[in-house]
């Protein structure tokens, strides 16, 4: 069977070229082999050389590196001194490789100027040497850690011993190894085999780094002691070895320290981003959707089934697949070729890198990011100009002429009109050219960034924007990044310290890096756990909501027992928190004798007293005590059981109700007639609770004509009372289309809290009362205008009690029917003669005035006068016969 080679042959076929190469190498020279072994040996030599080399030599290499030429004769000489027997034939390709290697590094990492290539000879060898260095260090650390773990948590931490071993010799080989491998060709043409590890083992290695500081409280003392001992030991060791290195690093640090670390280690490429991959991809995908309209490029839109879409309900990115049947079929592009969402709204806690993400991705997608920040002016006009300049124009100065991508940072601080303008701008469709509108439609991507997605001003924007939630960086990635930063800056930090820092930062990359920077700035070469624990993690934009604060008040936080004060202070609004406590304290912790409730109430009472005193005197010296009162309440009330805290609404509602009822009292008080006027308080206490009974006369029928005398009297009394207190029955249209008589102002609500319909008369009776009241009003008006004052006084003295005269009066009126009554003209009294005064106020004698008047009176005193008849001639013309004249 020549077609199927046996296993040996197969193997030979597979690796034919490798075998050939090996044979060639074997055949070529012995020297090569020697050289090879030399190389391996030299790497060790080199590390020794490095560690034992005095400072001057490294300084020399540094100077050579500063000239920026990749290979210099000086260096050649240097390398030759280091490498004992190295033929120039071999050296030559190595130099080339060095150059090429640098290039690839450039390509890979982007900006690598910070990485000091201070010793240029053989980068791969140097790495090896460094690794060797690290290896020693790691071994020491592992040793120390194992010791500590044995001290602290003997059972739990044994797994720490199986740390990954970065054994170069174990992982790389020139011969075909037994383990799984990936073949690589060296720059020299040699074949190298690198161990291939399964992903699981790799992840296991990574996960070892993550250690939650659990059981911390229990073993705090032992932990502390052990750590001190260990760190002292470690420090001693490290200081012995690395003094020179630290010195050299610090020198070139000084030049770079002008930059903040946060800016310095800003991600330079997509792979550097610490935020979650789906988030990055979603934003980048959205940016690429603009390509069609911005770059006139065809865009591939994914199938809706495969799309990584953002689910509002869960707040996460989910990959929809076909089988779930849940596909959203809305197209990603609208009819204009623009994305469906015109704005991307990034939201997330502070410091997780939202702004960085937006800038980087905009750059990556080929835009020029233009940022409008909270510090810029945000009035509507300024915003409009900024929006126009950013979206309609492009920069001329920029050589590449990239289109703009507007980034609106901290948009939740912008006023509502601004947001509305933005939304209007975004939703404006492209016109088909019929009407030339002033506002051009949006043709550039806009990325808005906010901390609080549910800020009220963002409500209109939320509906139209693509929501992208940026979570905090995961602890493991963040600690890896911190380790990289430490390595570059020459700050020594054990992995567990960095992990602790990352945990403490809670995903806040900025805060974590700033802590590192701060520690470095204090001229410390090593990061310790105390530093991390004492570091105040940056509190920029750290706002707690009212509900968070309330929740914190009612739960015991084991990790940070003292955190309640901070949370309460961050939330502010002490009076509302107090309201929330007051509404929830009965559900939190109850004991039979209500001692807890008493304690809580006493604290709340103190808080109330302080708060009201502060407000009254405008003296804020005791304001700080308010948060302490709330913290004391927390001490009393907090429990481990999950507590469902209700949002405090009752205080607001009660206040609103109080205002409403006050206004009713006020309107009754104002509207009441002087004869029944009382102080507002006595009206409220004495009159209003009883008034509804007076206002509901018991009539058998609604027809007044059929009523008995007593019923009529009570009706009259009711009408009189209505008039006296300025109440009215108003006809109102109800929801079901009927008209109902409603008392206005509604004193029943005031009189009977809750059950307002208690003594309310039936609708027919209400109508009768309304009619009686109208009659009463007319009668009273007449009384006011014409009647003798004596009767009115006697009548309206006590109208409520003595309704008898009123009714008799009405009967008298009834004798003369309404239409027969006439208004009697009022007697015009002769006024006293006017005293004339001249300009200076002197009294002019009457005779003089008379004389002045008499003079032109010739015309007006003539006995004949003329009375003009209006109208047209023909209409008023009258025939006059001569007979009449003669």
């Amino acid at each position: 069977m020549s077609d199927y080679p046996d296993p040996d042959e197969e193997y030979e076929l597979m690796y034919a070229d490798e075998l050939e190469l090996m044979q060639e190498q074997d055949a070529l020279t012995d020297t090569n082999v020697v050289a090879k072994s030399k190389i391996a040996k030299r790497s060790l030599d080199f590390s020794n050389h490095m560690s034992s080399q005095p400072a001057p030599s490294t300084l020399i290499t540094k100077t050579t590196s500063s000239t920026e030429t990749p290979v210099t004769p000086n260096e050649d000489a240097d390398t030759e001194t280091i490498i004992n027997s190295q033929s120039s034939v071999i050296l030559q390709p190595m130099e080339e490789a060095l150059v090429s290697n640098k290039r690839t590094a450039d390509e890979l990492f982007g900006d690598i100027e910070d990485i000091d290539f201070d010793d240029k000879e053989m980068p791969n060898k140097r790495f090896k040497s460094e690794e060797e260095n690290d290896l020693e260090l790691i071994n020491k650390i592992i040793e120390g850690r194992r010791l500590r773990q044995l001290l602290v948590e003997p059972s739990n931490r044994l797994q720490g011993t199986n740390k990954p071993k970065y054994d170069v010799k174990g992982n790389m080989s020139y011969n075909i190894p037994r383990w799984a491998f990936v073949p690589l060709t060296n720059f020299e043409g040699d074949r190298i085999y690198i161990r291939l590890e399964s992903e699981e083992s790799w992840e296991n290695n990574l996960n070892i780094n993550i250690e939650q500081p659990s059981l911390h409280a229990m073993y705090a003392n032992a932990w502390e002691e052990a750590r001190k001992i260990l760190e002292k030991k470690q420090e001693r060791l490290i200081e012995n070895e690395n003094t020179e290195e630290v010195v050299t690093i610090e020198e070139d640090m000084e030049t770079k320290d002008a930059q903040l670390w946060v800016d310095k280690y800003r991600p330079q490429s997509y792979v550097d981003l610490l935020s979650e991959e789906p988030v990055n991809r979603a934003l980048l995908h959205w940016l690429h959707l603009w390509d069609k309209i911005v770059f006139k490029k065809e865009v591939k839109t994914k199938d809706p089934q495969q799309r990584n879409s953002f689910v509002k309900r869960t707040g996460q990115f989910q990959l929809f697949n076909k089988w779930k049947g849940k596909t959203d079929n809305e197209p990603e592009l609208d009819e204009d070729g623009r994305p469906h969402h015109k704005v991307a709204l990034l939201c997330g806690p502070p410091g997780v890198g939202k702004t960085t993400l937006a800038h980087l991705l905009a750059k990556l997608a080929g835009y020029r990011p233009v940022e409008i920040n909270a510090s810029d002016e945000r009035s509507t006009d300024a915003f409009r100009t900024a929006l126009q300049s950013a979206t309609l124009m492009r920069s001329v100065l920029d050589a590449e002429k990239r289109p703009n991508c507007l980034i609106l940072d901290e948009i939740d601080g912008a006023p509502l009109p601004t947001i509305e303008l933005l939304v209007k701008w975004c939703t404006a469709a492209i016109d088909s050219g019929k009407k030339k509108t002033k506002s051009q439609p949006l043709r550039r991507p806009i990325i808005a960034i906010c901390n609080d997605l549910y800020a009220t001003s963002l409500r209109p924007l939320r509906a139209v924007a693509l929501l992208v939630r940026v979570g905090g960086a995961s602890v493991c990635r963040l600690s890896a990044r911190l380790a990289a930063v430490c390595a570059r800056e020459g700050l020594l930090a054990a992995p567990h310290v960095l992990t602790a820092l990352a945990t403490r930062a809670q995903g806040d990359v900025r805060a974590a890096i700033q802590v590192l920077s701060f520690i470095k700035a204090r001229a410390r070469a090593q990061l310790k756990v105390e530093d991390v624990e004492n570091a105040a993690i940056g509190t920029k934009d750290c706002n707690k909501t009212l509900m968070q604060a309330l929740q914190a008040v009612f739960t015991i936080d084991d990790k940070e027992p003292e955190a309640i004060l901070k949370i309460v202070q961050a939330a502010g609004e002490y009076d509302r928190i107090a309201d929330g406590i007051f509404e929830n304290y009965m559900a939190a912790r109850v004991d039979a004798r209500m001692l807890i409730a008493c304690e809580t109430l006493s604290w709340l009472r103190l808080l109330d007293a302080i708060s009201s005193w502060t407000m009254r005197t405008q003296n804020y010296s005791l304001y700080g005590a308010l948060s302490l009162c709330i913290a004391r309440c927390h001490r009393v009330l907090a429990s481990r059981a999950p507590q469902r805290v209700k949002f405090p609404t009752q205080a607001q509602e009660a206040y609103r109700k109080k205002l409403e009822l006050e206004s009713i009292v006020n309107s009754v008080w104002r509207g009441s007639v002087p004869s029944v006027a009382l102080s507002r308080n006595s009206l409220k206490v004495d009159v209003l609770p009883l008034l509804p009974y007076l206002l509901s006369p018991s009539l058998r029928t609604a027809n007044v004509q059929l009523c008995s005398e007593s019923e009529r009297r009570s009706l009259g009394a009711c009408a009189g009372a209505l008039c006296d207190y300025g109440l009215r029955y108003v006809q109102q249209r109800t929801a079901d289309g009927l008209y109902a008589f409603v008392l206005e102002p509604d004193i029943n609500r005031l009189a009977f809290y809750g059950n307002e319909d208690r003594v309310r008369p039936p609708p027919a009776v209400r109508q009768a009362i309304a009619r009686a009241q109208q009659l009463e009003i007319i009668r009273r008006n007449e009384e006011m205008t014409g009647r003798a004052p004596s009767t009115t006084t006697s009548d309206s003295k006590k109208p409520v009690e003595s309704k008898k005269p009123a009714t008799t009066m009405r009967e008298q009126d009834a004798a003369i029917p309404n239409h027969m009554q006439r208004l009697k003209p009022k007697e015009v009294t002769k006024s006293t003669p006017q005293v004339h005064k001249d300009f200076f106020g002197r009294i002019v004698p009457l005779s003089q005035v008379k004389r002045q008047d008499a003079l032109p009176d010739v015309i007006s005193s003539s006995s004949v006068f003329y009375q003009y008849r209006e109208g047209f001639n023909n209409a008023v013309r009258r025939k006059v016969r001569l007979r009449d004249l003669l």
């Binding site: 010739v858 015309i859 007006s860 004949v864 006068f865 003329y866 003009y868 008849r869 001639n873």
Partner: protein, 112 residues
């Protein structure tokens, strides 16, 4: 019956009179005047010859209107058995005052 009208009594022809037509009433303050009273003054503006009548405390502006049919003012005298008619005047036009009169304000006091 024939009536003879004498129309040669005045040398230089018959005088021409005019009717004054007022849209309104002329009234007296005291109802029964004892003596003849001046009703008003009639003027003519020279410029466009329109009549102005000052009546009581009113000024009336009027215009001349030609009558369609001229009239004669004839005086009848009874001389015993013979009745004699004599033309006193001829009326060919009337002065029509139909506009609203303007009041004359005479007593504008200084201390208004």
């Amino acid at each position: 019956m024939q009536i003879y009208i004498d129309c040669k009594n005045v040398e230089g022809g018959v005088p021409e009179w005019a009717i004054i037509e007022l849209q309104g009433l002329v009234q007296m303050k005291n109802e029964n005047p004892t003596c003849a009273t001046v009703v008003g003054d009639l003027h003519y503006y020279n410029r466009n010859r329109h009549p102005v009548l000052v009546l009581g405390h009113h000024v009336l502006n009027g215009k001349e209107v030609k009558l369609e049919q001229p009239m004669a003012v004839i005086q009848k005298t009874n001389l015993g058995d013979e009745i004699k008619y004599e033309v006193k005047a001829v009326v060919k036009k009337k002065l029509l005052f139909k506009s609203r009169p303007k009041p004359i304000i005479c007593n504008v006091s200084e201390n208004v």
